[in-house]
């Protein structure tokens, strides 16, 4: 039976209004199940663990990236499948699995196509999709960067972001890559993701992306892309790795899948632990690089 974990405050409370329509649709598709609501931070982790102990093998998150990340940290068995119904402010994980709306998510859940993704360990925490630090993380703290299709909101975000960028001091970073390659660089922004989330055909591997301090023209393009949650191409360094240790001067906050989760220095590595996601398309099974 499916176990649905709802975050009632996700998407500024939109989950609550969605709930009845959602249950009706799930019932129509024959995948109705047990519903439970989170009540506070890290609740979804405990709920996922408890559900697995009760014998559930399918856990579905109704929420955003933060709730998915909490659930991922509670998955203790490899036979468990995780589904996502995107309903948060940030739904990048769902988008990367090919899921864009709750209606589509229901169809995807019913079809139950599974793809395995390697988990990344950042200190004591696990994550799947994206770790960021530097300006982008700082911006997320200062400005509501959730994708918004309204032009006025987008322009407002952009103006706030531009003002923030003008006062932002570039970090100095040192990264030890796979134990023997040392990288030093001025750092405006850094992100780490599992490259398989961008390209399901590629092997699980850390994809590290550094953004150099942009000039005014590059900053315009950069900000626009960050606010659209889109790709950044200019002034970028990018490489693959199995593990990295990141130090910055001064130490700075780290954001994991949209949630502040510690500070530098931090060790990050691709693990052999895998999570089976219910995805829009089915891709290859887990092939650890190690």
């Amino acid at each position: 039976m499916y176990y649905y974990i709802l975050n009632p405050v996700a998407g500024k409370g939109s989950v609550s209004t969605l709930q009845e329509k959602l249950r009706l649709r799930l019932r129509e598709l024959g995948i109705d199940g047990e519903f439970a609501k989170t009540t506070g931070p890290d609740d979804a982790t405990k709920m996922a663990k408890a559900a697995i102990e009760k014998g559930h093998t399918t856990i579905v998150v109704v929420g955003g990236d933060g709730t998915v990340n909490e659930v991922v940290n509670g998955i203790t068995k490899e036979n468990v499948a995780v589904g996502i119904i995107p309903a948060g402010n940030s739904n990048m994980l769902a988008h990367r699995l090919g899921i864009n709306t709750w209606q589509q998510a229901c169809e995807v859940l019913a079809a139950r196509r599974l793809t395995s993704y390697g988990l990344i360990a950042a200190g004591q925490k696990y994550f799947l999709s994206t770790l960021t630090l530097g300006f982008e993380t700082d911006l997320d703290k200062q400005v509501e960067t959730a994708p918004d299709t309204k032009l006025r909101s987008r322009v407002g975000q952009f103006v706030q972001g531009w003002g923030h960028a003008r006062n932002y001091d570039t970090l100095e970073c040192r990264i030890i890559i796979d134990g023997d390659l040392e990288l030093t660089a001025p750092l405006f922004s850094l992100s780490i993701t599992n490259q398989k989330f961008d390209n399901p055909l590629a092997p699980n591997k850390l994809l590290v992306t550094l953004v150099d301090t942009p000039n005014r023209r590059q900053l315009t393009s950069y900000l626009w892309n960050v606010l659209k949650k889109d790709d950044i191409e200019e002034g970028v360094s990018r490489f693959g790795a199995k593990r990295v240790v990141i130090e910055t001067t001064p130490p700075t906050g780290i954001m994991i899948d949209g949630k502040l989760s510690g500070r530098t220095p931090i060790a990050i590595r691709l693990t052999n632990k895998q999570i089976r996601f219910i995805t829009e398309k089915q891709f290859s099974t887990f092939k650890p690089e190690d």
Binding site: R96, E136, I177, D180, L181, E182, L183, T184, A185, P186, S191, T193, Q195, F197, D198, N199, L201, A202, P203, K205, L207, T209, L210, V211, D212, T213, N225, V226, D230, D231, I232, E233, G235, V236, S237, R238, F239, G240
Partner: protein
């Protein structure tokens, strides 16, 4: 931030090292590598290796094919072609099947050319015609 889908291959993402980055150690990848920063160490690529105009490499390079527009202090080994561009400087030996040095390019060292096999010559002739 993600990289655009159309530059992905099944073996993974290309490596790009920007001009402000300094590396110490050996850099290797099965995919293409572009370096425009400073590196002390060796570089090994299973694809094409590009040494950008701002790059300064102190170490040996090996790849299927190599384009050099920056400075290299070390030996260069290309399975296929090696090109030293107009802004390129190589202080070291170059081993490859095909070598090109652009006008203004600097090459101080020995070249070791591997003769092309008959099948490779035919293929080359076919592509030239």
């Amino acid at each position: 931030m993600a990289k655009k889908q159309d530059v992905f291959g099944v073996s993974g993402t290309d490596t790009v090292i920007g001009s402000s980055v300094k590396l110490k150690g050996n850099l290797s990848s099965e995919t293409d590598i572009t370096v425009d920063g400073t590196l002390v160490g060796n570089i090994k690529s299973g694809g094409h290796l590009t040494i950008g105009v701002n790059a300064h490499i102190t170490g040996n390079l090996s790849a299927t094919s190599i384009t050099i527009a920056g400075q290299v202090d070390g030996n260069v080994l290309a399975v296929d072609s090696a090109s030293v561009m107009e802004t390129g400087q190589v202080h070291g030996d170059i081993s490859c099947s095909r070598l090109e040095v652009g006008m203004g390019g600097v090459f101080v060292g020995m070249s070791k050319m591997k003769p092309l096999k008959a099948t490779e010559l035919e293929a080359q002739a076919g592509s030239d015609s």
